[in-house]
Subunit: 453 residues, 2 copies
């Protein structure tokens, strides 16, 4: 090829990729009919047209590319497939398309791939880079890096700003600080500093050079006066939410995932600053992921002990289905808003399997006996550090007898009533928890399972 031809080809590839990234189906189609070999061409960092369409949520372009037989398995320079990208950016319709056509995965996992289901608090936008937690030199350099992002926590609440006209995504946004704005706090002995990780992937439209490392994130917890901390922001739309159970559900999916990690680890530090084995003080290690006893005689110094590592509490949460398949069991606690019913739930006990915990909790709380149990999906719930393990369960008895210490009322609800509540707006007499909860997602999963919703 002459240099003119090369340049013309490069131009065309660029035009084609740009059209895919913008979702311009007409241009994508006409360029492909002109030059079919464009379909698998790559641009910056090895991104294909399919990846760009997947990144930006352009389903029709993705469908067109797949229907024309594009290579779905190729990976970019970060080893991500288009499916990875669609999942990462939360474009489930595209992820569904790409995994449907992933015949090999279906063959390998005959039970079906549920791992596409992603719940609020579950998205990982940061690579935790746990190997770096003991690399003090690297961490110190990163702390001072101009691109590094700091989140500020007070009483386990992150500083957030309330919505602006042009804001995208969630109703509230995390306040992000640079090193200069927080370096005084880092000097204070009472400050807890947690390394959260490195951004997994930059936006495909990034203009920065390929060699630059993505920014890393830290969380800072400080006992400084909250009003003082808020003065660090120029806008007066900032605050520390007071009711995490409700307010932290207003973040974007991306930020919710970061908060889940940061808040759980910080809650552990706030509750576990003394050695549970001997009562001595402990000190923070490994960038916030370990606390070691300061007493050299302590048993916890010999070998590896879970006392030194963050605690995660597994909880089972289950939608119990009536033997007739057309009703589900929901209960309500006294503290729920009037009219709200949810799935039953409870902590997994020591020495107990998930399925057994489901059977025990359902019988304890409602008197209903459960047979088959099926895992559906899970959700990290940072209040303070639960792992909600979501299951469907089929009842083998139907009489309800509630344990009034646990729940106020439990009832079988017909499928149609649940569907109405989910899709036609909640009635004050009966509604379920919001979409950010795994309870909501389990209920939605069930009503969608045997119908065409």
């Amino acid at each position: 090829m002459t240099s003119f031809q090369m340049s013309a080809k490069e131009d065309m590839v660029e035009k084609f990729l740009d059209a895919a990234a913008r979702g311009d189906l007409t241009q994508v189609s006409s360029l492909l009919s002109l030059v079919p070999s464009l379909i698998n061409q790559t641009g910056y960092s090895g991104w294909t047209a399919l990846m760009l369409a997947a990144r930006n949520g352009h389903l029709h372009v993705a469908e067109k590319l797949v229907s024309l037989g594009c290579d779905k398995s190729s990976v970019n320079s970060s080893s991500q497939t288009a499916l990875d990208i669609a999942k990462f950016w939360g474009h489930r319709h595209i992820a569904g398309l790409l995994s449907q056509s992933e015949g090999s995965c279906r063959r390998i996992l005959p039970g079906g791939d549920l791992s596409l289901q992603e719940n609020y608090f579950g998205r990982e936008t940061l690579d935790r880079l746990s190997g770096r937690r003991t690399d003090e030199v690297w961490l110190e350099t990163k702390q001072k890096d101009l691109a590094t992002v700091y989140l500020l926590f007070s009483n386990l609440s992150p500083m957030v700003s309330t919505p602006q006209e042009d804001s995208e995504g969630g109703d509230i946004k995390l306040c992000r600080f640079r090193y200069e704005a927080v370096k005084d706090l880092l000097q204070k002995p009472s400050t807890v500093l947690i390394f959260l990780g490195m951004e997994k992937m930059k936006s495909s439209s990034s203009s920065s050079s390929q060699t630059e490392e993505p920014p890393v994130w830290f969380a800072i917890s400080t006992d400084e006066d909250a009003a003082e901390l808020l003065r660090r922001c120029r806008e007066n739309t900032c605050l520390f939410p007071k009711t995490p159970n409700r307010d932290l559900l207003k973040l974007s999916e991306e930020e919710a995932g970061v908060v889940a990690q940061a808040r759980s680890v910080l809650a552990w530090h706030s509750r576990y600053s003394f050695c549970s084995t001997c009562g001595s003080s402990t000190h923070l290690e490994e960038a916030g992921y370990k606390r070691s006893c300061l007493n050299p005689e302590c048993r916890s110094q010999r070998g590896v002990h879970n006392t030194c590592y963050p605690r995660v509490d597994p909880v089972v949460i289950m939608l119990v289905i009536h033997p007739d398949g057309n009703q589900c069991l929901l209960g309500r606690k006294k503290v729920f808003p009037a009219g709200m019913f949810s799935c039953l739930a409870g902590f997994v006990e020591p020495g107990e399997a998930i399925e057994e915990a489901v059977r025990r909790e359902v019988e304890e709380e409602s008197g209903v006996k459960v047979g088959p149990v099926q895992y559906v999906s899970c959700q990290p719930w940072p209040m303070p550090s639960n792992l909600m393990i979501g299951c469907l369960a089929v009842a083998v008895t139907t009489d309800i007898k509630v344990d009034e210490k646990e729940i106020e009322e439990a009832r079988w609800f017909p499928r149609q009533q649940v569907i109405d509540s989910l899709f036609r707006g909640a009635s004050p007499a009966f509604f379920v928890p919001p979409r950010q909860t795994i309870a909501h997602q389990l209920i939605k999963h069930w009503v969608g399972m045997n119908s065409n919703l």
Copy 2:
């Protein structure tokens, strides 16, 4: 009917049920051809012939009864179906038969019912009766009950006896004590007493009256000299196993489940006797399931805090499958016996979903990137209190780069090599962990998935 006819019918029902319980297929068949209505007759406590066959593992009798259309859904006076009974007693072939024919369950859970998979340490023979943990009067009465069973622990090891000629099941058996034999230990302030629960179901052949409550079980942990404790047994075949990771795998399935619960809770008491929030001493409450801080000013006294409850650490353990579907990734740690390879595994971190933990751990340990993840089954692992969450995962990259801090070697193993190792006996060059581990069961699940093994 005359009284003679009634008695003749009762005799025949009894004969029929007895034949089913003994597994006498010839007699079951001939009685049924004589009096077909016998098929759903019930005897003691509402047990049917199918339940008795399921209880005692008589597959051929169960098949005959099912093929003749017996009622599979009827329940005994403890609300158990024949399927419940088969699962409870570990007769998986019968449980498989009964759940295969349970069309309704399959319809309700279209993904298939994996909850039949039961792993070692996962069987629950005791009803934990958590509501009784705060009932001190009831607990005290039960402590002195002649039928109550006590297990003795020293340094987190249960006292066991080594095999006798006529022993059934495991290679070692728990030593069971009555109140009289341990009442001196119960008086000691250093003794930790845990309520384990009530036996779920008595053997169907029991001759005791229906009104009698089944025995309850307690675990005692004491700091008395182990040699002294062993003198409480008449036989000199008793001991406290020294290597729990290995020795506790020699119990029967029933006893392993009890030990999983007892050891996890006792390990928590041994490591968490001080308040992690303020460093003060704590005291045991709720029959061993809570520890409260003795300092009235402590924050942990206000509201509910996880610091007061036993810790359970969720761990992901996964078999990673090659994109070609015919190889799996296994790794080995330096401490493994030479030639042993196993699934990769790691703790779930705060704010992390199960599927994300699988992807992170596999990439950290082996450098392999993982796409779809599927939950298979789980296993309580009381060393000291892990919940092993077993998954299959499909790799999207295949290059291996091990993290040498974590594992020594990782390799793709062809399916046939794994099958040979599982079913034709281990070779010293390559073998997998024993059947009691969930790693073994995941591997077996995979090799059986796409073949007729």
